[in-house]
């Protein structure tokens, strides 16, 4: 009985965090629109660039232009589920010291950040997905997968969100050791961009680079959901990729937990 009570109470605590985060995101509506426009800009740039690259060519690295177009849009969706704003919120908390106030609260820092992130993702990501899904459905020349693959794709996107959270969280925690958050965030973005397949499908890489990318967790953000969507793998392959994503989610979560307790020890010994 007691355990249930505690569980429901803590669940309420986290969900109210999420709701508050949603409210905040709505309050910054202009900021959201601008954020969206900002990532949309990148999408357009990439689209035009690839259009020029594919000019007069049927296929490159095994992908046709139609597949490439689709890939870009999927990449865009997967990436914009966790915005820059959510990311800097985590590192921001550590940098401005409000983390010490959080230590006093009976909340798990990691779970709390996840709750907040999910809250703002509902708004930011939700709108993004609706808009781009409409575009996808309406536009021509876009690849549309079969039912099973669509389902698996949606699951994969959700998993990719958790993977991205795991990475962003760890990057945010790194701010404990350095005092320049923006540097770490940019470094993370650059590394993630390349290795997740957001910039260019992993199949374009020379084989040694491709192999390296497949070993890292970043591919779970774009490459995995995109591969499932484009039916580059059959159902069993897709399930395998999903399993890999989930494995990474767990590994990243645990790493985050470990880093957090290490960091807390540092704070309580050295005093913020």
């Amino acid at each position: 009985m007691n355990a249930w009570l505690r569980l429901s109470r803590s669940w309420r605590a986290y969900s109210s965090l999420a709701t508050r985060s949603m409210q905040n995101t709505l309050a910054y509506r202009l900021s959201y629109v601008v954020n969206f426009a900002s990532s949309f800009v990148l999408l357009i740039a990439m689209y035009a660039l690839w259009n020029a690259i594919y000019a007069g060519r049927e296929e490159l690295a095994g992908m046709s232009w139609a597949q490439m177009k689709t890939y870009l849009i999927i990449s865009f969706i997967s990436n914009s589920l966790l915005s820059y704003y959510s990311e800097t919120r985590i590192s921001g908390k550590i940098l401005d010291g409000s983390v010490s106030a959080d230590l006093l609260k009976p909340l798990d820092f990691q779970k709390a950040r996840l709750a907040e992130t999910l809250g703002s993702t509902v708004i930011e990501g939700g709108l993004t997905v609706i808009i781009t899904a409409t575009v996808l459905a309406a536009a021509s020349g876009i690849f549309k997968p079969d039912f099973i693959h669509s389902l698996l794709f949606i699951l994969s996107v959700l998993a990719s969100l958790l993977v991205k959270f795991g990475i962003v969280y760890i990057a945010g925690l790194l701010c404990f050791w350095s005092t320049g958050s923006l540097g770490i965030v940019w470094a993370r973005m650059a590394v993630t961009s390349l290795f997740s397949g957001a910039l260019v499908p992993l199949s374009f890489f020379p084989s040694w680079l491709e192999k390296l990318s497949l070993v890292l967790p970043f591919q779970g953000i774009v490459h995995t959901p995109a591969s499932i969507y484009l039916e580059e793998v059959n159902v069993w392959g897709a399930l395998g990729l999903l399993a890999l994503q989930c494995a990474w989610v767990c590994v990243l979560w645990l790493c985050g937990k470990l880093m957090w307790s290490w960091a807390v020890r540092q704070i309580t010994i050295h005093g913020g």
Partner: protein, 352 residues
């Protein structure tokens, strides 16, 4: 024309009205409602050079808004301001050379460099001649006791230290006018004393005009000769501190410590004394509140001494605090007519 001349100064703000909660946030996405709020409503004020003025009022009365307009960082909705012949908004930089300001919660110190570096930077910004800079700096370091933390960055200072440094920074270039917005907020009494002495010295030695907004009425008593009270955007009192105290801070409380008081006799005596209320009436402790315009302290003391042996006593003089509190609560009005009537009644009582 006075040094600082303010005519019909008005400032209005537009504020967005939003309902609380998630529903309210969504609604606000689609339609915004605004309401006009008047922070300062047509005030007139004249200040001569070298005066020390306390600018007092409850929170939200319009104090900070007035100061911001005086320093040129906020533009009035209507009305005129002239400081030493300069319009602080239109000629902001020219005005900036002649003023110093301390805003209680915000600092003008550079956060991550030693205080001494901040001072050096200010010397270049205000183009302070070297001999003057050296002289002022030495004097300030001494008066404000800053030697111990000169080498520390502003980030590492305690509130008291930071406030002292801010004050030094504000006066380093010998401004003609200094605006102090809550300069002693949150400080301990020792630091407050130092700061008040410093401001007083500056006013007396250099003739700096001081305009001080504060909730700390000790600041006012120590520093200011003139009191201006603003409430809900309008001035409700403008005059000397002494006049206010003479007219309104007339109550005294005497606390007696007695061997053994004859309480019935005392009560009888109290009934015969005009406008004396007993705050505490016990065999060994008696506290009596009286209006000194109606009865003198010696009369009250004699009455008590007749009813028992007095071991010890002390007189509480309620400071300006009491008056201000009553003004805020609307219990007394500080306009001239009413005050005259009260004084007349008081002198009548004294003659009796």
């Amino acid at each position: 024309m006075s040094f600082i001349e303010i005519r019909q100064l008005t400032k209005q703000f537009r504020q967005a009205v939003k309902e609380p909660g998630l529903a309210g946030a969504v609604k606000h996405l689609f339609s915004q409602k605004y309401v006009d709020k008047t922070a300062v409503a047509g005030i007139n004020l004249d200040i001569e050079e070298g005066e020390t003025v306390a600018y007092v009022g409850p929170n939200g009365a319009g104090k900070s808004t007035t100061i911001k307009m005086l320093t040129g960082i906020l533009v009035p909705s209507s009305g005129t301001i002239s400081v030493g012949g300069i319009d602080p908004y239109r000629n902001r930089m020219e005005n900036a050379r002649t003023i110093g300001a301390v805003f209680g919660q915000r600092t003008q110190l550079w956060w991550d460099i030693p205080i001494s570096e901040t001072f050096s930077l200010l010397k270049d910004i205000y183009e302070i001649p070297e001999p003057l800079y050296k002289r002022n700096l030495e004097q300030f370091i001494e008066l404000l006791g800053m030697k111990d933390f000169l080498h520390l960055t502003a980030r590492r200072l305690s509130l008291g230290q930071r406030m002292r440094a801010d004050l030094a920074a504000a006066l380093l270039h010998n401004p003609r006018t200094v605006y102090l917005d809550e300069p002693t907020i949150g400080l301990d009494i020792a630091v407050k004393q130092r700061i008040r002495e410093f401001i007083r010295a500056s006013n007396q030695e250099r003739g700096t005009t001081v305009m001080l907004t504060t909730h700390d009425l000790g600041d006012i008593e120590d520093l200011c000769s003139r009191l201006v009270i603003i409430d809900q955007g309008s001035l409700i009192y403008d005059g000397t501190l002494a006049a206010v105290k003479d007219r309104f801070a007339r109550e005294r409380v005497i606390h007696f410590q007695l061997e053994k008081a004859d309480l019935p006799a005392l009560r009888e005596a109290l009934d015969r004394m005009p406008k004396v209320t007993a705050e505490k009436l016990e065999r060994q402790h008696v506290s009596l509140r009286f209006d000194r315009f109606h009865i003198t302290a010696s009369e009250v003391a004699s009455a008590v001494m007749r009813c028992g042996e007095v071991i010890d006593f002390r007189i509480d003089e309620p400071g300006i605090e009491h008056v201000i509190k009553q003004v805020y609560e609307g219990r007394i009005s500080l306009d001239e007519q009413h005050a005259d009537k009260q004084t007349a009644a008081g002198t009548e009582a004294n003659r009796r």
